[in-house]
Symmetry: none
Subunit: 200 residues, 4 copies
DNA sequence: GAATAAGCGAGACGGTACGTCAAGTCTTCGC
DNA sequence: GCGAAGACTTGACGTACCGTCTCGCTTATTC
């Protein structure tokens, strides 16, 4: 056993933790992910480098945590629920248009690409991402889809994971590869295609 | 005008160019993309660093070019064509199963992730990727889909770009995020969904 | 007045004090003076760093104290006295040969060099050294020389400090600079030279 | 064979070398040897740290070299010769008084102590010191002493190394340990003692 | 005998410097 | 006269310790 010294989380300085995550987010926005250094994060946060290395294994982990912290630590996934007017098509179009608008917002560009770089190249972070960020969101989406199934608007035997993939993956890929325009029409088209594919 | 010195491509040493691209590919496979340095590529290729900087603007560009070179410099997209048995479902399932198998091959893991990291973070490379690598492949796929349209197996007004996205993006996303298993059944399911969505 | 907090020596933990001095001496022997850190001393002694900083101002002071403690805390200088056979030449040669042997002992090398580094670079410690370690030893040596003066073996007006310097400084310098062999013959030569110089 | 990369001295940048040695000397004078860091030397010299590490193994080696460079690279020891009036006593007193004055000069304090710390704790540097700095000086001193022997002012069989030690070591020790005043009288006393000891 | 205060172990903290690696630029030398 | 080799400045890496600062815990007076 190599017997690595592990720090005692009880003594952790909450003020420093916050300052580090804030600094990380600010720097990503200002200079772009690739140019952010741990040194710069430490300096900006007014913190010793060791305090970062003590609690995070890599720059990626810090950046990732800064997104986690941003997402508000929702404890339970309550508070965010999809609209349910009884019309699944209308509801999905509403949500997809909002998502498209979000992706198209240049303000989100740098941080979200940074997050994606992390989870693509580090499978541990990818697992954390699925667990802590993606899953809660997917769960509320699936809840809405399940309601649609019960209302007979979706095939009862539809694989909801697959439904979500067909709905979102094309949008995600377009954004990631910049391979096409992200418009409200595109959002609508994805909803139409998905509903047609999974109609009862 | 700052009048940047630009080298004369006519004088370029082809032997060095090849050695550099080969070294880049080897190193990515051996140590992983993130740990590859220009220094290491130069050393492995038996070339001065300046010879790399003279012809490529960044590590990403070298890596990207090493993939371009690998894809065989097809000049025209001939030589690769999708099977056409007349049965679009069977043909697509064949192709998708092969694609799934390719993505699942651990041998391709590192280089393809490296390539994706490049094009995600560098929009210039992303444009080149679309132009030089993605487009030719998409063109042959679209040719097969167009044949299906003419055979009445796909809606005549289907947006073929969208068809390809619905078909491939879910698979791509699963692979990128490691968010689910890549199996032959999954390949079939994607084909079924897509055909249902774009049925005439 | 800045009103520095000063600890109450009455409450000092004697067990910790000993553990620290022992640890310091052990570490100097094991890894050499330059590589000894307060952190390592504290860890070895099973003591908090603050307990060292509370009682010593610097690493040098700890090391120095560890030598003081080693020298046995003789209270009064009794117990050690130079041989006095009545023959100053024979007595000095005995003592000088012993000294040469001591310096040549590799076991003493590291610690004594460490001590010398301290007193060379820190004049406070140098003063303490002269007072607490050097003076008592010099006093017994001078006592023997004074007896020799009274016996007419040394000039009555000889400056005994100077006699000791002529006797010991060459040996000390040879050891410090490793500029020549330390042998019994060398010890004898120094005694001969000194006696010739200060003959009545 | 570990096959360490060794730089090619022919390509060494002389301007950088000078800047480093100058910066080292300046910093020792300004802040004291212990507080000089390689980082600070590099910054002051306008040089990358690697350029220091490429050519010197340690801070001590840089500092030592800065003294070597200062001593003027005398090629042959010519140019400096001791006075020879025919009167060894007068000549030695002249030289010793000058030496005492030099040691007492507070301007020389810091650098010479720094040099001594180096050669005391690093036997490699000590050997270089003897070879490159001490020996040439000793040689000219011995030449003068040899003349005195031929003039019958010193015993013909006197060990000149020993003579020099008796003459200089007490002075050196006093300075190093700050154990007594360095005065012209002291210089004279040392000459008197030495001449008496080594009289024919 | 309980209350209180000091010393203590532990170790997290903001820092400085370490010695290493690589980036991208500039220089030299050999073919 | 080009290009390999590699020295240069720069800057970040991750580590080791510095000296300071809480934490609980033990111990030893003081009321």
């Amino acid at each position: 056993m190599p017997e690595v010294k592990k720090p005692n989380p009880a003594r952790r300085n909450e003020r420093s933790r916050h300052a580090i995550l804030d600094a990380a987010r600010e720097l990503i926005r200002e200079v772009g992910y690739a140019k952010v250094s741990i040194e710069a994060i430490a300096a900006r946060a007014g913190v010793g480098k060791q305090t970062i290395y003590r609690w995070w294994p890599s720059k990626g982990a810090v950046v990732f945590d800064s997104f986690l912290a941003l997402s508000g630590d929702p404890e339970e996934g309550e508070g965010m629920a999809l609209p349910d007017t009884g019309d699944i098509e209308a509801d999905l179009k509403l949500v997809m248009r909002a998502t498209v608008a979000e992706f198209a917002d240049p303000h989100f560009e740098a941080p979200i690409r940074a997050l994606n770089l992390e989870i693509i190249s580090d499978s541990d972070l990818a697992a954390q991402y699925r667990e802590k960020l993606a899953r809660p969101v997917e769960d509320v989406k699936k809840a809405r889809l399940r309601a649609a199934q019960q209302a007979g608007q979706l095939a009862a035997d539809a694989d909801l994971d697959l439904v979500l993939e067909v709905l979102y993956a094309p949008l995600y890929q377009r954004w990631l590869h910049r391979s096409g325009p992200l418009t409200a029409e595109y959002a609508d088209a994805l909803v139409d295609v998905t509903l047609k594919a999974f109609r009862p």
